[in-house]
Symmetry: C2
Subunit: 415 residues, 2 copies
Amino acid sequence: MKMNLSKIIVQKYGGSSVATPEKIKGVALKVKSKVLEGNKMAVVVSAMGKTTDALLKLAGEVASHLTPREIDMLLATGEQAASALLALALNDIGVRSVSRNAFQIGIVTSNNYSNARIVDMNLKRLEEDYKTYDVIVITGFQGITEDGDLTTLGRGGSDTSAVAIAAKAGAVCEIFSDVAGIYTADPNMIKGAKKLDAVTYDEMLELAALGAKVLHSRAVELAKIYDVTLYCGATFSDEKGTFIMKNLPEWLEHPVVTGVTLARNQIKFSLVCVNNGDNALSKLFHALAENFVNVDMISTAMSAKESKEIYITFSVIDTPIGGNSAREVTAKTVRECLGVEPEIEEAVKVSAVGVGMNSASGVAGRYFDALNKCGVEVLGVTTSEIKISVLVRINQAETALRALVDEFDLKQCEE
Amino acid sequence: MKMNLSKIIVQKYGGSSVATPEKIKGVALKVKSKVLEGNKMAVVVSAMGKTTDALLKLAGEVASHLTPREIDMLLATGEQAASALLALALNDIGVRSVSRNAFQIGIVTSNNYSNARIVDMNLKRLEEDYKTYDVIVITGFQGITEDGDLTTLGRGGSDTSAVAIAAKAGAVCEIFSDVAGIYTADPNMIKGAKKLDAVTYDEMLELAALGAKVLHSRAVELAKIYDVTLYCGATFSDEKGTFIMKNLPEWLEHPVVTGVTLARNQIKFSLVCVNNGDNALSKLFHALAENFVNVDMISTAMSAKESKEIYITFSVIDTPIGGNSAREVTAKTVRECLGVEPEIEEAVKVSAVGVGMNSASGVAGRYFDALNKCGVEVLGVTTSEIKISVLVRINQAETALRALVDEFDLKQCEE
């Protein structure tokens, strides 16, 4: 009889969860407890701890120009070793288990090395394996091209592998790491930030800054497309984690704002120029794109005067572009393109996210009131259906965040 | 047009030759020099330095009972990483190169994990690759089963991979390591031992004790079957190495004795018993085999007396058998089987090897004379067509070796 794969549990363990032999044995025990409840499992693992970094360092020591195909061949060994070790640990405690790499499980990807996209997956091997084994340990992060070359999936790759397997099998996907779930705000910054029981895919995508350590947005996008219910929890704790799903369950109280985030490393540019037949905006943002500038927020205002002045504020993410700083490249582009000198200021983006914003009215009012009351100056604004983001000065960022946490009840009840 | 694979050069580099990024770059330069001469190459690599040991240590830390299939999955990562790194280094210095693992090159083996035998190889991929690349870097030591499970080939596995590829392609095979070739005697023991220009497969197999660090006998056996010419040389030296081939070239002076070896760790057992209808020998060696005793030399003599006494001397290799010593297991077996108490003595096997023995007469006479002259007592003798081995006492072993080196001219000429 054919195995119903939708009943399997797909779990993914990140690199820090399998960083040492002791942790691998700990993961094996955690997996065993689910097997003892009668489950068949697919367990996706990342490379142990800092293995990937160590391999990249070696690569840099043998070559200055790195061939992407060979880097993927090299990096893929990390997940294969971790998978074999977990299967060894599982077999050792009496769990019938086997490890499978991308070749064996048939995870077919595009051939853009280091950032490949999964295009197909053949789960026949899994169905076959479950006749003999209870747990199939699968290498995360890697795939093969149609030609049989190894590829890797880029950042968040193992999460993506796990979600893809769950999607194909029609199963749920549990992602385990050092972080116990998704919080209303960064618990390192806001003492008493609440852990959320559940968030929607869209909220999770907007909360990426909070969730980056827990879950890569690419995996969330994939989960959204295939409607895979995700669960994020801590590997070595029984604390309840967070579900990520299409719609929040009925029994859950639906808050207006689910969480607030800070995104640092923003540089704000403000300028005024004459709007030469609406051409200025188009010219500017084309030129920035051509110079590889990563523009984040954009807001503009027109002057009502005859001169048709246009006020442009935009923010740029402060990462190096080639050998230069984003600040230099952007300023030079503005000058060459529009012939004006921009005002430049370092800034932080503060965002509030929540599907509840869709239906609740007055959220923006409460938002700006809260900031105003504590003297935070808003330098720029953008909104989406479920998010309001503002740019603020660096020294006002935490004040802004705390004001929003208080305004939208994002702290745990005092005990 | 189809590529003529018999013109490729197959090279193999051992673990110590690729132990560091610097050494990998050195190997890349060595390979490049051959490519610049217009060659297409297949380069087989072992895992870097002590990688295999480190992986086995990790395995021992996650599990006490090791699943052989998972050990092979784990160990296979070592060669894959080394292959990718060498391909990176080659591409970096402008050599068109790609790495291929056992899946990609189609090295099919039996499924006895950790000691698999190569059963088939599909070189179509190589032919295809040479349209684009000059050097294909291939993972040594590993194969895949018909079911697509990874296997490893056991000790000397990478040598075996290289010879198998050369055999299938009809090409020569160059094995590089820290050792510059095959010597007439262990150069660490005999100052001035000569490096041999060439030896035959059969000599090499008998000289295994000298060649163990250079070349595994399994690879030599395979080379013999498929008549693959082997060359052993040092990775990081231009010194001439040693050819291993079916017949020595005409221009070479054919010495009577090619080399001498010492095999330590022998235990000599001597006993006398009544030959009960020729049954004693058969009973004894069956019983020893059943008890996993590794018997090396056997020599016997019959008494001419009515009592039909039989004198048996045999040597056993001193390795643990289960939890016991070979000495204990063997003595117990002799007692139980024949009801006599053996004399036991630690000994060394001294051998002289040479295809020249086949045709030259008086070699045995010179051999025993040389030992006799310096007072070495011979405790046992065995011979093959190209080898004479004697057992001697431990404290006479080096004297015996030196006597043979002098008798058979195995030293370099004094300068």
